[in-house]
């Protein structure tokens, strides 16, 4: 790795503009990143961070402006050029082939050959080597479809490094990671920096930026609005620059209520078991009760059965044992629609796969799951759907406010607002709300908003089940906290007693207790 002269920045983007049809994603964005630094690119959803980085990575051709990498003019180059020049991007949504192994994914496009056949043994050795050097541990012979999200992300980073990237762009990398995994990632990034690598980190999490970055660039509404050294900057300063006003940062609420009151039990789960792909039991005999006016938070490292638990509760996965009662009624044998009708709302963890039909309009997405309430005997009630869309778009501040746009055209945060609006808004009576990773890949402003809606649902008498890989989120909102490990609850404590220090050992499996 040859370091560029200090005066020459690794990346210099000036006056970049890019529109998609009538939508101007970025207007006048600039970014200057020095070689060998960790640079945080911050901004709200739809601020244009990802678009700007995709211009850098050669995925989009800018409508205006210039791009330089290591002193060379590269405006309008293509992905292949970017990879050849050592610029690698790790996307928020993974771009891996699920049916191939880790090693096969890594060498895809530059396969190692032995005569006319693939030399997979050499590929696996190369992956192990790289794995050791960077600290990104993952078994090269496993299939990608069997990995959890954290592991898949490690593969994504490895893939980029394998192609010789010296400039690494990470788009919201911690959105899917548990606190220990985040720490591991920071170690990896520091190692890269120590070896002369340059890192651009797209994020909106203030504490992370303070923890890891050297320099910060803030974007708002498609423009660069600030650049500062991390040292001497407070989270409040950054938040103000991102949103353009003062924001109340997520703090533990003084009035978090501990349960134990006489409130009605709305969700009763008994000895629930769900078969797993890798373990015999992904969910292994879990029992809990959530009452009206309570947020039950489930913390834990991803891949410990949280996904399967939520799917079983929602009716998407068959039960291997146990029962689920909703409002006193046994819903174990009901399908998804039956449970929706019984008052279940579900914010799925993966909005692209489960939460939205991306090619449907916003208006159509806002009735998904409620189509029976928006139609007569056969025909959809178009005026009612339109009225609903208009009011939901307004209430939840979905931007751009055009309900005829396909969901695909929205930024991640606005897509999530569509899901949240559908599951919690309107006239929908919510008895039990399943909120899985409700703020994943969502900006500060939207997080504040979604948290407020979750509290409002609780105060309105709903029972909320919150699953989040973000421990701070669980701690900030929950009346009770459970830690899930290996398909079981290893610890359940009142929200007022829960702290990161107490729960951490349970999350990593170091401590175990009876639930």
């Amino acid at each position: 790795m040859t370091a560029a002269p200090a005066a020459m920045p690794a990346i210099r983007l000036r006056g970049i503009a890019k529109s998609f049809g009538p939508v101007r994603a970025i207007r006048d964005a600039s970014l200057e990143v020095a070689t060998g630094e960790i640079h945080a690119l911050m901004g709200e959803n739809g601020a244009g961070k990802s678009t700007l980085m995709r211009v850098l990575a050669g995925m989009y051709t800018p409508d205006g402006g210039t791009a330089e990498v290591e002193g060379t003019e590269v405006t309008g180059w293509q992905t292949a050029d970017a990879i050849a020049a050592g610029v690698g991007m790790v996307h928020q949504h993974f771009m891996l082939v699920p049916t191939l192994t880790v090693a096969e994914n890594l060498v895809l496009g530059q396969e190692l050959m032995k005569g006319v056949t693939l030399d997979m043994a050499a590929a696996e050795r190369a992956v192990r080597d790289l794995s050791e050097r960077t600290g990104l541990r993952v078994d090269p012979t496993r299939k990608v479809s069997e990995l959890n999200v954290g592991e898949a992300q490690r593969v994504e980073i490895l893939k980029v490094l394998y192609r010789g990237a010296r400039i690494l762009v990470l788009d919201e990398p911690t959105a899917v990671l548990s606190p220990p995994e985040v720490q591991e990632l920071w170690e990896v990034l520091r190692t890269l920096r120590a070896n002369g690598g340059t890192v651009v980190l797209i994020t909106h999490k203030l504490d992370e930026v303070v923890a890891i970055s050297d320099t910060i660039t803030v974007m708002r509404a498609g423009e660069t609005v600030g650049r500062m050294a991390t040292q001497g900057t407070t989270p409040a300063d950054i938040a103000r620059a991102m949103v353009g006003r003062d924001v109340s940062l997520a703090q533990r609420e003084a009035g978090v209520r501990d349960s134990g009151g006489p409130a009605a039990a709305l969700l009763e789960v008994r000895d629930l078991a769900v078969a797993g792909a890798r373990r015999a039991r992904a969910v292994d005999g879990i029992s809990f009760t959530v009452s009206a006016g309570e947020i039950f938070g489930i913390a834990g490292v991803e891949g410990n059965g949280q996904t399967e638990l939520i799917e079983a509760l929602a009716g998407l996965a068959p039960l291997a044992g146990g029962s689920i009662r909703l409002g006193g009624r046994d819903v174990s044998t009901l399908d998804v629609r039956g449970r929706i009708d019984a008052g279940l709302s579900h914010i799925p963890e993966d909005r692209h796969r489960r939460g939205l039909v991306l090619d449907f309009s916003i208006a159509e997405n806002l009735i998904l799951g409620l189509q029976h309430r928006f139609s007569g005997a056969a025909q959809l009630d178009a005026p009612k759907i339109a009225t609903n869309a208009t009011s939901q778009v307004k209430t939840f501040d979905i931007r751009p406010p055009d309900s005829a746009l396909p969901a695909r055209a929205l930024s991640g945060g606005n897509q999530q607002k569509v899901v949240v609006a559908r599951e919690m808004g309107g006239e929908r009576p919510v008895r039990v709300l399943l909120a899985a990773q409700p703020t994943r890949g969502v900006d500060v402003g939207a997080i504040e908003f979604i948290h407020a809606r979750l509290r409002a649902a609780r105060d309105a008498g709903s029972a909320v089940v919150l699953v989040s890989a973000d421990l701070n989120e669980v701690l900030a909102l929950s009346s009770r906290v459970a830690v899930m490990y290996g398909g079981k609850f290893v610890c359940v404590v009142p929200g007022s007693e829960a702290t990161a220090a107490l729960l951490g050992p349970y999350m990593t499996g170091a401590a175990r207790g009876a639930a």
């Binding site: 051709t61 309008g76 998407l316 039909v357």
Partner: protein
């Protein structure tokens, strides 16, 4: 009207490409392209008989095109329209033979049409049910059913129902529908009949079903993103069963055109590939019911036009043109076009940067 542009541009481009290829082919036969195309148009849209034959062919293609297009909206590939069409025609002929001749024709025609819908629907329901129950691929099941159903029908007709020295059933007792020739003598000799009006009505009904009903909404959601649909309470197995049955029923309707509108009997091989051509019609019509109507007219024109120009160029040339249209549409869909445009813009930017 960007949406309309996006819907119309690919077929228009495809036609233009087909025209160029056609010109080259005609030149290679030593003929003048202008004269041959003029001949083609004269033989299809230029006189009432040719128009009648074109409209007759288009009628069956609208039915089979919809039979492919609607399941495709649900993410299902129905390759079985050929046998569903045959089953529909056979069922209509059976009904026509079973009812007394004294029945007034509208009642008889309605009964025969219902039989065609049920016949085609049953053949479509088999892959739907197998997919819903066992997850069997509808592609493989419909392909295999084509062989099974066609062989079965041939056997029944050949061993029990045929008129001696022929491969067709006796004429139906009642239920024939009026031909255009009954209203206007200029259509004399052509097979066009009021089934065309019915087919257009059915296409409009299909549009309403897809875009205005709850079932259509669930069908489209299932096709675009099955997991999101499932999370939204859509019962996928039911959507598969209903959609495949509907597809089969639509193809079955195409049999009415031949049996009630034209020959008044079922004959082995009457579909002559219209079921398979339905796949092309759905593709070129972009799986939109209105698009299917126009695509059916286009393919009917090419098919009838082959006969009209047979004297100067081989009629197989039109088969080549149909294939070119299909390929060109596949290339011109918006996603592919965007990639090409991006590449072009990049090339232009490179050029300006270099100068």
């Amino acid at each position: 009207m960007r949406k309309l542009d996006e819907a119309l541009l690919p077929p228009a481009l495809a036609l233009a490409i087909a025209l160029v290829v056609g010109d080259l082919l005609i030149l290679s036969f030593g003929q003048s392209p202008g004269a041959v195309f003029a001949m083609l148009l004269e033989g299809t849209w230029g006189n009432a008989y040719g128009l009648g034959q074109t409209l007759y062919k288009a009628t069956t293609l609208i039915a089979t095109g919809l039979a492919v297009a609607i399941p495709l909206r649900a993410g299902l590939f129905n390759i079985g329209a050929e046998s569903q069409l045959a089953a529909g025609g056979f069922a209509a002929a059976l009904m026509g033979l079973a009812i007394p001749a004294s029945l007034p024709w509208p009642v008889a025609a309605a009964l025969c049409t219902v039989a065609a819908v049920v016949g085609g629907g049953l053949v479509g329901a088999i892959p739907g049910a197998l997919k819903a129950r066992f997850g069997a691929s509808e592609v493989i099941v419909t392909i295999m059913l084509n062989f099974i159903v066609l062989a079965l029908l041939n056997w029944i007709v050949a061993s029990h129902l045929h008129v001696p020295e022929s491969l067709h059933t006796p004429e139906i007792h009642s239920g024939g529908v009026p031909r255009f020739a009954d209203f206007s003598a200029v259509f004399r000799g052509s097979a066009a009949n009021v089934t065309l009006v019915g087919a257009i009505g059915v296409a409009i009904g299909a549009w309403w079903f897809l875009f205005r009903t709850r079932a259509g909404y669930e069908l489209r959601a299932a096709g675009l993103q099955a997991e999101a649909a499932r999370t939204g309470g859509v019962r996928l197995p039911r959507v598969w069963l209903v959609t495949m049955t509907l597809g089969g029923a639509l193809a079955g309707l195409g049999g009415v055109n031949y049996v009630l509108g034209y020959k008044h009997y079922y004959e082995e091989g009457f579909g002559s590939g219209a079921g398979f051509l339905g796949i092309a019609v759905a593709l070129v019509g972009r799986n939109h019911p209105v698009g299917v109507i126009f695509a059916a007219l286009l393919f009917a024109t090419l098919s009838q036009g082959g006969l009209a120009v047979n004297a100067v160029v081989p009629k197989q040339m039109m088969d080549v043109l149909q294939a070119v249209v299909i390929l060109a549409v596949a290339v011109c869909v918006p996603e592919v076009r965007r990639v090409l445009q991006d590449a072009a813009r990049r090339a232009v930017m490179r050029g300006t940067a270099a100068s």
